[in-house]
Symmetry: D2
Subunit: 125 residues, 4 copies
């Protein structure tokens, strides 16, 4: 997924404001669903980020086009982990491991086999 | 209402990104409700901006503290108009007239006398 | 220019936060420059929004794809006016007239004939 | 530091969009400098987030007032680590360890003893 950096993404330091890399990753995760004609909602349950490690290696600036890659790292009974990289040309600017849960009424839900298959097929493709 | 300008509010031009002045005004409108222990929701209806004129006179920058003032300009049967100014010390940086409607299920609602009184007492105080 | 609505663009009302339509328009204006391999900077001068009228007719929601159109309405000696529409399919959700100036060191600059020609050729194409 | 949650901070899920907790923490870090009449800039060098672990334990929603606490965890020769918690009343909603570096012209700078003392006195107070 290619993302252009606009003024709104930058700050007075002249580079992309740090938390916006997380937004870029979330766009990429959501887009996997949109591309299949789905919303990122499964059986009325929503995805919520529970934990996240982020590595900010270098900066993107106004006008850059960056690429976000998304890989399913691990699938567990109540959570799964996605690995993102944001690159500018061949250089990795940002990487992140994101642990997500599926939530209904504020409570984490078990990932049934059907849900695991849906997620596997979406993110492995 | 005083608002500090943080990095997230600025862009690569070194000043507050233009649409963030609208956010500052919305914070000020919402805060009138919060100060009374209310949410900006009346009889399950939400406020939606319908029209807006904005005048960007000068810029705020990182670290500035600006002040947002809010005045009820006009009350009609199905809408009302708020006037905001954003100042830095005595200088007006931004002004805006905002026409708001009260919406339920996507449809604008009549402002009953009770609602008009609530809005009058909130914003005139 | 097509823009997808992601979570970050929406608010707790379930629809796109009002000021984000302005961001979508700014992305569209900047993209005209990027498509020509330029930054939206001319002779070291930057564009700044000076006035804006906005008409919020209907709402976009999470997952929608909207289209932003951009038209040069008027060219003056020290400013120019752009007209934007944001549509979802054939329905206009938002329209705006945006008066822009070219600024250097905080001061509005004359639009020389060369600059006017550049802007005309960019936005008329 | 107390922060009110406004519409702009929330998303269509009805809660604060995940990356905005990072913004709240950045506001808190910057505010330490502003309170001393400083910008978060030392000897012309800017702070940049290099690594971050985030734990999203529970959600804040529209209208909530949350409190951000900031603690200096570790000081090294070229980086330092801050620990933040965001609480709603007594409940921790979010915690994060943030490794920061001081950057000039894109390069991380040594934290001289003077700089270390400044940071210590700012964040330990």
């Amino acid at each position: 997924m290619q993302i252009r950096v606009y003024y709104e993404d930058t700050d007075a330091g002249g580079i992309v404001y740090h938390s916006n890399y997380l937004n870029f990753c979330e766009r990429a995760r959501s887009e996997f669903f949109f591309q299949k004609g789905m919303l990122p909602v499964i059986e009325n349950k929503h995805f919520v980020v529970r934990k996240m490690n982020c590595d900010f290696k270098a900066s993107a600036k106004f006008g850059d086009v960056v690429e976000v890659t998304t890989k399913l790292l691990e699938m567990k009974k109540a959570s799964f982990t996605i690995y993102h990289e944001i690159k500018k040309e061949d250089r990795v600017l940002f990487s992140s491991e994101v642990l997500l849960v599926l939530v209904k009424d504020g409570k984490a839900q078990k990932l049934t086999e059907t849900i695991q298959q849906t997620l596997n097929s979406l993110f492995q493709a």
